[in-house]
């Protein structure tokens, strides 16, 4: 369909006042050429809450370890089951509602999850790393990438000075979109290979439309650190589904941590926005991240992409209204209707998981051997990864409502089967 056509016409003539090269990382300099985009970009520091998203500013008393005077809500308090799910893992110490891009560097630096020593790998998605990787790799970002991953976080952070910036998504000369993240370049190639497309080179083969999603998918994805080189890797060899990711981790025998209460070898899922989106009807309809999160806005006689990246529910007329000719209230009601139904099922799944954790712990305390617990552990690992996958996904089900509910249904099943396994009666379906 041609809901996109009219957007193609929005290309702008670029009047440059300063020179910007492939080595200019400071967005303020790019901003002199594109003041509108820069002003909007700076607005990602705003904190506004929606029913299920956005972020709420919570005052914070600055301390020596954490000088932030404003943080976002702790999800460990709003969703108490999370502490149990992650027992023994850094996430059970500190996990907050995510907020705008302006905070990515500081929030990462001051999260209590830094109390455990973290690798440089973390920085890949929390800073403008393109020029840093180029320097370290003497022009080859792949080499720089390996070096960055291998160093400790506190050393890596000295090589960067901005959160995600213009240069991470744009070609300095043409302003065309481009992907700068090695982990995504490799990950998407693996995913395409699983669909039978060999040697996929995203910067050469992706359409402009696809790039409007891929620049975001550089970071809004599930990931893990591969081997002792801590190489940032996206588990997409078996496709972009939760099942494919789980299968992948089993194949490579990866575990994120050992559960403190049950002793099970666990996996943590993080923000698979791109993967969930890919399973939804909007993706099938060619609707991109930028369409909803960076909608066009009229500035004088021109249309520009709103670089104030945020919840579309704070901007429904521009975001949804382009395609859905309905009132704002109606559109918000539809999204929240989906989210509310989703949240209710998430509660059921988390309660089931906590039940399983209680039971394994009880059996363990009663002296059950690891061999006896093995089957229940496998169910906990699976149930936990599945519910975590949709809970860590930040649209509260909106990006792919049916798939999210499907995943929760399976998670519930695994948790209960785990409890059954402990009761030594094997149901026929297994």
């Amino acid at each position: 369909t041609d809901i996109f056509e009219h957007k193609q016409e929005a290309r702008l003539p670029f009047v440059r006042v300063v020179e910007v090269t492939d080595d200019t990382s400071d967005p303020a300099i790019w901003g002199q050429n594109f003041p509108q985009q820069y002003d909007d970009y700076l607005k990602t520091a705003d904190m506004v809450q929606t029913s299920y998203g956005g972020s709420e500013a919570v005052p914070h008393l600055p301390t020596a370890d954490d000088p932030r005077d404003v943080v976002s809500k702790s999800k460990l308090q709003t969703i108490p089951q999370l502490k149990r799910m992650w027992a023994g893992y850094a996430f059970s110490k500190d996990f907050r509602e995510e907020r705008g891009h302006a905070y990515m560097l500081t929030d990462q630096l001051y999260t209590e999850r830094q109390k455990v020593v973290q690798p440089g790998t973390c920085i890949n998605c929390h800073a403008s790393t393109y020029t840093a990787m180029k320097e370290m790799g003497a022009g080859d970002i792949m080499v720089g990438f390996d070096k960055l991953n291998a160093m400790p976080y506190m050393e890596a952070k000295e090589h960067v000075s901005h959160g995600v910036a213009c240069i991470d998504c744009h070609d300095a000369e043409t302003m065309a979109l481009r992907v700068t993240r090695p982990a995504f370049i490799e990950g998407i190639a693996a995913a395409k290979a699983s669909e039978g497309i060999a040697d996929y080179d995203v910067n050469k083969m992706a359409t402009r439309q696809e790039m409007r999603t891929y620049v975001c998918a550089q970071c809004h994805v599930e990931y893990y650190f591969k081997g002792d080189k801590k190489r940032l890797t996206y588990p997409w060899k078996n496709g972009l589904t939760v099942d494919g990711a789980y299968e992948y981790y089993d194949e490579v025998g990866h575990n994120d941590w050992t559960h403190a209460e049950t002793g099970a070898p666990m996996l943590k899922a993080q923000h698979p926005e791109f993967e969930m989106w890919s399973q939804g009807i909007h993706a099938k309809s060619g609707v991109t991240c930028a369409d909803c999160h960076m909608p066009y806005k009229r500035v004088g006689g021109m249309k520009v992409s709103d670089h104030h990246v945020r919840s579309p529910l704070l901007n429904v007329n521009n975001s949804c209204g382009t395609c859905h000719k309905r009132g704002d209230e109606d559109l918000i009601a539809r999204a929240e209707g989906i989210q509310t139904r989703h949240r209710n099922l998430v509660e059921v799944a988390l309660d089931a998981l906590v039940d399983l954790i209680d039971d394994i712990k009880a059996a363990k305390d009663a002296g059950a051997t690891d061999a006896e617990l093995a089957e229940a552990w496998e169910f906990q690992r699976r149930a936990s990864f599945y519910v975590d996958y949709v809970e860590a996904e930040n649209s509260s089900g909106f990006h792919a409502d049916q798939e999210a509910a499907r995943i929760l249904g399976e998670s519930i099943n695994y948790s209960r089967l785990g409890q059954m396994a402990l009761r030594k009666i094997k149901p026929s379906s297994e």
């Binding site: 369909t1 041609d2 809901i3 009219h6 016409e9 066009y296 806005k297 009229r298 006689g301 007329n317 521009n318 209204g321 382009t322 000719k325 309905r326 009132g327």
Partner: protein
């Protein structure tokens, strides 16, 4: 029997009442904003039938460009769909829209994604039938329950015929 219509601000104004206001404005009884706006923002475009006149307003550009490509580009102009085809109605509608749009345009007080509101939807619906009454004769109008006559809204299914914008 004056027709009751809802403004975008939810205020109820009877058609006749509003007509007076507009006439007053248009006849230039006031040299104030109304007239200024109308002239400045070329609200007069509403008084012609030339689509290009609509497109004077860059915010109508999208629809214009899409209309040229649309299945109706060859058959129907903007006003064939967006203006009533009885004399009073036509000029009432045009001055009403001309006024509101000019005002909105001048004050910039309108959404980026413009949407058609109830009054104008009614205008369009009637125009669909004006041209397609033959074809839709059997399906429309059908008396609804309790003898009440309601038509099956055309644009519910054909919202893109004029311009897929």
């Amino acid at each position: 029997m004056p027709r009751v219509l809802l403004t975008r601000h939810g205020r109820i104004i009877t058609g006749i009442g509003l007509l007076y206001v507009l006439v007053a404005v248009l006849i230039g009884a006031a040299t104030g904003l109304g007239l200024f706006t109308f002239g400045y923002a070329d609200g007069a475009a509403y008084l012609t039938n030339d689509p290009a006149a609509c497109a004077n307003c860059h915010v109508m550009r999208e629809q214009f460009d899409a209309w040229v490509k649309s299945s109706h580009g060859k058959f129907a102009t903007c006003n064939d769909c967006h203006a009533p085809h009885n004399f009073l109605g036509k000029y009432y509608c045009k001055s009403r829209n001309g006024f509101f749009h000019s005002l909105a345009f001048t004050t910039g007080n309108f959404p980026d994604q413009i949407q058609m509101h109830e009054y104008n939807q009614g205008v369009v619906e009637e125009n669909c039938r004006r041209c397609h009454s033959q074809l839709t004769h059997e399906i429309d109008p059908l008396p609804g329950p309790n003898g009440k006559v309601e038509s099956n809204s055309c644009i519910r299914c054909h919202s893109t015929v004029g311009h897929d914008s």
